[in-house]
């Protein structure tokens, strides 16, 4: 197989949820002298981009997205140790489900999609108190804070985190994106969030836009 065929097969295997092929192609890529970084970007990540498109088109649903992401991780396990330089992170994101809420499937899918798109993601899990967001932001010098809530009763906790970020960082705070079933764009604007996404592929697009904004603002 030539280079293009290997990368195409890698991407297709992610879409088709074929872990065995992903592992074989990841190994073959390394044996064939394809850089691990290139195999990740043009194979695995490209596959996940296609998964996002299928999800947007209502051809794939959440079960497929999760299993495709699992398949991608199988390839990453082989390729990541072989990266010869530090991967060029697309941005550092601290993410979690707000305090009082334990529903994390949406957040988990967003984590998978963000990682597949090259972001460095720090996942705080679910039921995360505001202080934990602030602490982690400081530790990793985060570019973006991403929060989700699946309950109408806990979504106001996002506002508390944003207020805390303003308190600690004023105008230099990380950018904030929010999502979750009951969350809407007007709500995101109302609480002072910088971005809102209604689904995981959308979250990746918003994170990319926020990073552009951050670079433009000279915060990189």
């Amino acid at each position: 197989m030539n280079k293009e065929e290997i990368l195409d097969t890698l991407a297709r295997a992610v879409v088709e949820m074929n872990e065995e092929t992903v592992e074989q192609m990841a190994l073959l890529a390394l044996q064939s002298g394809i850089g691990a970084e290139e195999a990740i970007e043009k194979g695995l990540s490209r596959g996940m981009e296609q998964v996002g498109k299928l999800y947007d088109a209502n051809q794939y649903f959440i079960p497929e997205v999760v299993v495709c992401a699992d398949t991608m991780y199988k390839g990453l396990e082989i390729l990541r140790p072989a990266t010869t330089k530090l991967q060029n992170s697309k941005g550092r994101i601290v993410i979690g489900v707000v305090e009082g809420d334990t529903h994390d499937i949406g957040k988990n899918i967003v984590v998978m999609m963000l990682e597949s798109a090259g972001f460095e993601v720090y996942d705080l899990g679910r039921n995360v108190p505001p202080a934990d967001f602030i602490k982690r932001v400081r530790e990793v010098d985060a570019d973006i804070v991403a929060m989700s809530s699946l309950m109408t009763t806990t979504m106001k906790g996002m506002k508390t985190v944003i207020e805390e970020l303003y308190y600690h960082y004023q105008d230099h705070k990380p950018l904030v994106m929010v999502g979750g079933a009951p969350v809407s764009k007007p709500f995101a604007i109302q609480i002072g969030a910088d971005g809102y996404a209604s689904n995981a592929p959308g979250a990746v697009r918003i994170a990319q836009q926020l990073m552009q904004q951050r670079r433009k603002d000279g915060c990189d």
Binding site: V67, T102, M151
Partner: protein, 330 residues
């Protein structure tokens, strides 16, 4: 009498509001003060009836009754609903260690049944009840991410979990009917993650059997949160007489597409209207919704989902008062 016969041919739209937690504001009780005392359940239901005069009576919402009885660890805020902290059922062996609870002896179930009896006999209005559906309970047991993985990687396990949860929910639902429940709303918020094909195989098939087992004298409703347009044809075929729809749905276009004998409930926004606006604005939004339903006798006023425990009581009063406007005056 079918639900459609009960609500139609009236001079106003009937209302089924999801606001039992407002009873905590009225009474000062914590959620578990109420859950653990059938007498307090009755007291709160009576206060709610006096304050808001809805067309149905109801106990405190109790979405955690199954997971709590099955022993899952819960986060239990005093004035908000419990949430599952761990999802321990990962294998068939884990599942086999669980027993289907007996509604008459296990956990708080007998207290709930007693509360239903007291409310059904103490307040002369149809008793309504909202319970978690078998699919959503199954997702709680396994954990959402592991559950969706297993849908593809281990479908036999998922079938077993669903058979189990169907038994749990069914046994309890049938006991609540015996205790006096007249209107039962099964909530399957998690089902919105499924494709229409999987919804049919995993949710609708079991709901049909479950609703059927409740007998003809009970009004059966299904609630699913979120944008369910792509599931609507299957929701219409799952044995429910009424569909309760989320605030993101455009009810005026949906109601044109459903059969006239299917009741559509909804969908005043519990967050951006009920919690955030002024009473006057809530009243205007309620009337706007009712006007958009004019001409449809299969409509019932409701909220898009449960309202939050901190929803201003004056907003709830405004919504309920406006909901009693006669159709000719809209």
């Amino acid at each position: 009498m079918r639900l459609i016969d009960f609500i139609s041919k009236r001079d106003r739209y009937l209302s089924f509001p999801w606001m039992a937690t407002a009873g905590l504001q009225l009474s000062g009780y914590t959620l578990y003060d109420v859950y653990l005392s059938p007498q307090r359940q009755l007291e709160v239901a009576q206060r709610m009836n006096q304050e808001f005069n809805a067309d149905f009576t109801y106990p405190m919402d109790d979405g955690a009754i199954f997971v709590e009885t099955l022993g899952l660890p819960l986060l239990k805020p005093d004035f908000d609903f419990p949430s599952v902290l761990e999802n321990p059922i990962k294998t068939t062996k884990d599942l086999e260690e669980l027993q289907v609870p007996n509604p008459y002896s296990d956990g708080r179930m007998p207290l709930n049944l007693k509360a239903l009896e007291l409310i059904a006999t103490g307040i002369r209005k149809p008793l309504s009840l909202s319970i978690q559906g078998p699919f959503t309970l199954a997702v709680e047991l396994v954990g959402a991410t592991d559950f969706v993985r297993a849908i593809i990687r281990n479908p036999d396990f998922i079938e077993k979990v669903l058979d189990f949860t169907n038994q749990v929910v069914g046994d309890y639902a049938r006991a609540t009917v015996k205790a006096g429940t007249k209107f039962i709303c099964i909530s399957e918020p998690t089902a919105v993650i499924l494709s229409p094909d999987r919804f049919e195989k995993m949710v609708a098939v079991r709901l049909r059997a479950l609703y059927n087992s409740l007998g003809p004298g009970v009004w059966k409703v299904l609630h699913i949160c979120g944008d369910t347009r792509f599931l609507l044809p299957h929701m219409l075929e799952c044995g429910a007489e009424g569909l309760s729809l989320d605030q993101v749905m455009d009810l005026s276009s949906i109601i044109k597409k459903v059969p006239k004998n299917t009741v559509i409930l909804g969908n005043l926004d519990p967050i951006y209207v009920l919690r955030e606006l002024s009473p006057e604005e809530v009243r205007a939004k309620t009337l706007e919704l009712l006007r958009s339903m004019k001409g449809y006798s299969n409509y019932m006023f409701s909220f898009g989902c449960d309202c939050t425990p901190d929803t201003p009581l004056n907003n709830l009063r405004a919504a309920m008062e406006a909901s009693r406007t006669r159709i000719v005056d809209l």
